[in-house]
């Protein structure tokens, strides 16, 4: 039988050990609590040009009947993109002197232009130069790439084309994301959205290649805004149609360009072989993303009904599937 002193000693040891264990657990919990970030990427925004962005403003401009969507046939992207904007009233309708224009291309992948997975550099050149013709104060080109951003902008040729045309290329960083909630949305709820580079911008132009997509069937002007999502955005693949339609509600650009010069018909969104591409020689400019994508379906040998997100976006008021009712302006360029 243990002596009373030994029992007291054992109890003391038990208490001491218990206290140490409790302190260790408390320390672990404290560290975990300190590291825990319930909000995800920081909601703080780095100020750019002394203005703080509180989210994505409405960049759209008033519509003009008969100048909502243009469709130009041709092989030379610089010529067709320029013509497409001319048919909608010219760049001066969209960009005013002193404007700061944000251009959002698809710079998602570190792949060369030949594959058609990213916005073609020639379209970047055309649009950026047009903005400066309209006496824009500044043009910013940016995207939240899927692969390493520096590699994406370099290998896609977008960075070089943008810089050569006089634009500022902005790489993503954590502080450029702000939690956004779409009123009435079920998916975009306090989700980090890439807004920083667009702080202070007056106009927003989206430029997208026309592609098949393994998940969403097609990737066009509305899907292009997927690049603005931060965090683990691949989670939204589970409701790809829902997220695309919500993005069309969240983002109200001034203009979108849909490049169907070489359409990726299969193996999208990354492709991999020039055999995946078909020369459809068409450039679309539009103030209505839904209409642009609805027309784009035809180049993919699809019908609008094949893309559920179109109907969702139309129902939400983002645009019109019946692009013909918008009286598209058409032109064809002679074979170069």
């Amino acid at each position: 039988m243990a002596e009373p002193n030994q029992l007291n000693s054992s109890r003391r040891q038990l208490l001491v050990r218990g206290a140490k264990a409790a302190a260790s657990i408390a320390a672990a919990v404290g560290i975990a609590r300190w590291l825990y970030d319930p909000k995800g990427p920081s909601g703080k925004i780095e100020t750019i040009q002394n203005s703080i962005l509180k989210g994505l403003p409405d960049f759209s401009i008033p519509r003009k009947d008969g100048q909502i969507i243009s469709i130009v046939n041709g092989q030379d992207r610089i010529k067709t993109a320029t013509q497409a904007i001319e048919l909608l009233g010219g760049i001066e309708r969209f960009v005013k002197p002193g404007d700061i224009v944000a251009v959002k291309p698809n710079a998602g992948f570190a792949t060369p232009p030949i594959l058609g997975a990213t916005t073609h550099p020639d379209v970047i050149t055309a649009i950026v130069k047009l903005c400066y013709v309209a006496k824009a104060k500044k043009v910013i080109v940016s995207d939240n790439s899927i692969n390493n951003p520096a590699s994406c902008f370099t290998i896609s040729g977008i960075g070089k084309a943008a810089s050569a045309a006089g634009a500022e290329v902005v790489m993503p960083k954590d502080s450029y994301f702000i939690g956004q909630t779409l009123a009435g949305g079920s998916l975009i709820k306090d989700w980090p959205v890439y807004c920083g580079p667009f702080a202070g911008a007056n106009k927003l132009i989206g430029i997208a290649p026309l592609k098949n997509h393994n998940k969403s069937v097609a990737s066009m002007t509305m899907k292009n805004w997927y690049g603005l999502l931060g965090g683990r955005r691949n989670l939204f693949h589970q409701d790809i149609n829902g997220i695309i339609s919500e993005l069309a509600m969240l983002v109200k650009p001034t203009l979108v360009i849909l490049d169907g010069t070489e359409t990726m018909m299969t193996n999208g969104p990354t492709g991999g072989s020039v055999s995946d591409l078909k020369k459809t020689n068409t450039m679309i400019a539009s103030c209505d993303m839904v209409a642009a994508d609805a027309f784009g379906c035809s180049l993919l040998d699809l019908k609008p009904a094949d893309l559920p997100y179109l109907a969702l976006a139309q129902k939400a008021g983002a645009g019109s599937i019946d692009y013909e009712s918008l009286k598209p302006v058409r032109a064809g360029m002679s074979m170069e």
């Binding site: 691949n234 072989s273 055999s275």
Partner: protein, 323 residues
């Protein structure tokens, strides 16, 4: 007693230290392994070495992607691989020594089995693919413009060039040959030998699930043939046993009928004896039958006679296999 408690404390302390050492060693080991981008296990020299692959040299560092972050490399294509047994992806870029603008990126997908690798290979095969016939046993490959794609054992391999260039294609072909030689594929895809002679070269395809839109048709192989000048596609799927084969064949037939197909007469006595069913599915003929543990048939044939002829040859071949 004091001595005993002292020994007990020492023992407990020793156990505690041992546990901590094991945990730290595990953490270090995980870190070290995760930093291992060693492509040399594929027989490929990496940037920083003096060696290179012929006229091309590795540039940048190799990258590795696992199941959780595969989408960071291939985005919307990731599910196709993830749903087909994907384990990991290793990538490396190469550039021509004499022209850094000429480059290609090598992708090596570990798909866990030859069957899985072949499935993603065949499902993405381009219509204008030019097949390679000299990459070694159990290895399939083709050239499509600026890209070379290979199925070799458990690996699906892509080499994607930055341009359509003979120099680039030759460099990629050389690497493809070297890869095959250094890591020959031992795993065979047995089902391909069940097909009759006369397959259109390179037309084999494997649909792991949901073949022809029917979720009951899994692990379904198909190949193209020409019968009297008419294009025909033969398919077969090995089931667990003859009972399952019968059930799947019936279910597929019912699926076709439910979706608007019309039953048509079977003219061939061989097909009748095999219990084959023929339907006209919006102008294309489908034939399905069980043959021991196989579900087999003809898919989307324009010509009924050609379809029946091909089915007869297939029945004969399967009976030959089953003895």
């Amino acid at each position: 007693m004091h001595q005993n408690s002292g020994r007990a404390r020492t023992f407990e302390t020793a156990i505690g230290i041992l546990i901590l050492v094991i945990m730290i060693a595990t953490a270090i080991g995980i870190y070290v392994i995760s930093q291992d981008y060693n492509m040399s296990r594929f027989g490929i020299s990496t940037a920083g070495n003096d060696e290179s692959e012929g006229d091309f040299t590795a540039i940048g560092t190799s990258e590795t992607y696992n199941y959780d972050n595969l989408y960071e490399k291939i985005n919307g294509k990731a599910p196709m691989y993830q749903e087909t047994g994907f384990v990991k992806l290793d990538t490396q870029r190469f550039a021509a020594k004499t022209n850094s603008d000429l480059s290609f990126e090598l992708y090596i997908y570990d798909m866990n089995s030859a069957k899985n690798a072949f499935s993603v290979y065949s499902r993405q095969k381009r219509p204008d693919a030019v097949d390679f016939n000299d990459l070694g046993a159990n290895t399939f490959g083709y050239l499509a413009g600026n890209a070379i794609c290979i199925s070799s054992g458990k690996n699906y391999i892509e080499m994607i060039g930055s341009a359509e260039s003979n120099e680039l294609v030759n460099g990629m072909k050389e690497m493809a040959t070297n890869l095959s030689a250094k890591r020959p594929a031992s795993e065979k895809i047995a089902e391909l030998e069940y097909f009759p002679q006369g397959t259109v070269a390179g037309s084999w395809k494997l649909q792991i699930d949901n073949a022809f839109g029917f979720d009951g048709l899994t692990d379904t192989y198909s190949a193209s043939y020409k019968v009297n000048g008419k294009a025909v596609s033969i398919f077969l799927s090995k089931r667990k046993d003859a009972d399952e084969a019968k059930a799947v064949a019936k279910n597929y037939y019912d699926f076709l009928i439910t979706n608007g197909a019309k039953a048509v007469s079977v003219d061939s006595d061989i097909l009748k004896s095999a219990g084959a069913s023929i339907v006209d599915f919006y102008g294309a003929f489908e034939i399905v039958f069980p043959a021991d543990e196989f579900v087999a048939g003809i898919h989307e044939a324009d010509n009924k006679q050609a379809a029946e002829k091909a089915a007869e040859v297939l029945i004969s071949r399967l009976r030959e296999i089953n003895g």
